[in-house]
């Protein structure tokens, strides 16, 4: 049984130490997603806290046989952020900007949210496609309109991008194995 599995089981038994450990492991990754989705530092901090609160509250609903813990956490973060953005949009639409400002929420376009790692090595259209659905929380329908390409083309972009990510990570793993082989 891996350390992750032990922590997750303890987390489901409402063990704070396990929560602390899982927070340390995944908060950076989740915060990276949230801040790119809402582009608002203060709101992102609140949403991150809410995400972990929800995960803690609904920990019994996590089923390891259906996927990774991180994916489950990502979906909570995504939905929580989208709910925030919808509410935020409503406030703007009703021009009740005083509430918006009172909440201390200010958009910050200078956040350092450029993409790194394998994703940044993809072709620009592949990068954009994944960014829109994964980091901006758009549905495929919204994203293809945003990119200005037909839905079928957009879906192909996502499929190709996922395939290319697989190639990059598989190559990196192979290089690591070779280096370790040489070192031993």
């Amino acid at each position: 049984m891996s350390n992750d599995t032990i922590y997750i089981e303890r987390f489901q038994n409402r063990d704070e130490t396990a929560l602390s450990k899982l927070y340390d492991m995944y908060s950076g990754a989740i915060y990276g997603v949230i801040i790119r989705m809402c582009r608002n530092e203060e709101a992102a901090q609140e949403i991150l806290q809410e995400t972990f609160m929800k995960a803690w509250d609904k920990s019994h609903l996590y089923d390891a046989s259906k996927g990774k813990f991180y994916t489950w956490l990502y979906r909570i973060a995504r939905n929580t952020t989208l709910n925030f953005l919808r509410k935020d949009q409503k406030l703007i639409q009703t021009e009740d900007l005083s509430v918006y400002k009172d909440a201390g929420v200010e958009e910050n376009e200078n956040l350092h949210v450029e993409l790194k790692g394998a994703l940044s090595k993809l072709d620009e259209h592949h990068q954009t496609a994944l960014k829109l659905v994964y980091f901006n929380g758009l549905t495929h329908k919204e994203a293809h309109e945003e990119m200005g390409v037909p839905l079928g083309t957009f879906k192909s972009y996502v499929r190709q991008a996922v395939g290319k990510l697989r190639d990059i990570y598989a190559k990196e793993l192979l290089v690591l194995i070779c280096i370790l082989e040489l070192l031993t």
């Binding site: 929560l19 915060y31 992102a44 990774k68």
Partner: protein, 266 residues
């Protein structure tokens, strides 16, 4: 229900990961994932890759979020269980984890240094290999040249040794003062060889060409390749003289008699 490939190709796995699959399809897809190992493996890979992407793009949140989170949890959930033995173990893992952190950091440092060293070695080996390859190519080319020269020398030696071979000296006229060629004709073997070592070099757009005179008509024996010392030419039956002319590069169909530089009667 779609088959495995159709599911993979349709991008349903990515949509499932993002939580975008409609409820009516969700149950069927989850059932398939539970029953089809290959499909489950494919989904696990996509999950892992997306997790890697997130970790590579992680942004460290401020420390106070974690403090706020625990404060909120303690406030909201009175039933949070913090067992005494786990309390005691909280301190120890911190110390332990610090030790592990140091060990991990040291291992990472060793790994980095050794990787750098290996990279340097690899780079230097690569350069050495390229140099060796160049030298090898050079040697190969020299061997080929030597083999060519040896073949020519052997050919010349064989022709000269043959008692039926007749030797003709072709002295250059005033167009190539000092120029000289030696032709070896064997009427029995019907072979013609010429040593052109002493013919002067021509400009790149010109070449020497040898002709046999048969009843007043110049028949080409071939273009003289000046990169070789000994050139094998076509034997012309019943030729009464051998002639060398200067022709445009590639040779001519008819001899340019004004450019005759040497001739000898057989």
């Amino acid at each position: 229900m779609k088959d495995r490939n159709a599911i993979i190709e349709s991008g349903m796995l990515e949509m499932y990961l993002l939580g975008l699959i409609p409820d009516k399809e969700l149950v069927t897809l989850e059932k398939m994932l539970a029953e089809d190992e290959i499909l489950a493996q494919k989904y696990a890979e996509i999950e892992q890759d997306f997790e890697n992407v997130s970790l590579e793009n992680a942004i460290q949140p401020p420390d106070f979020i974690k403090e706020d989170l625990f404060a909120a949890i303690r406030e909201d959930y009175a039933n949070v269980r913090t067992l005494p033995e786990e309390n005691a173990s909280i301190e120890k893992p911190v110390k332990k984890s610090q030790t592990f952190m140091w060990i991990a950091a040291s291992l990472a440092a060793i790994f980095m240094v050794s990787s750098l060293w290996m990279f340097t070695q690899w780079d230097s080996t690569k350069t050495d290999l390229q140099t060796t390859q160049l030298e090898l190519d050079n040697i190969k080319s020299q061997i080929e040249n030597l083999q060519g020269e040896l073949k020519n020398s052997q050919l010349l030696a064989d022709v000269i040794k043959d008692p039926n071979t007749l030797q003709y000296a072709l002295k250059g006229n005033d167009k190539i003062p000092g120029g000289f060629a030696t032709a070896y004709i064997n009427h029995e073997e019907k072979s013609a060889i010429v040593n052109v070592q002493k013919l002067p070099e021509l400009s790149a757009d010109k070449t020497y060409q040898m002709w046999g005179d048969v009843n007043g008509e110049m028949i080409s024996m071939g273009v003289i390749d000046k990169s070789k010392d000994v050139v094998v030419l076509e034997y012309i039956n019943k030729a009464t003289s051998l002639n060398i002319t200067i022709e445009p590069k590639g040779g001519s169909a008819h001899a340019t008699v004004e450019q005759l530089v040497s001739n000898v009667y057989l």
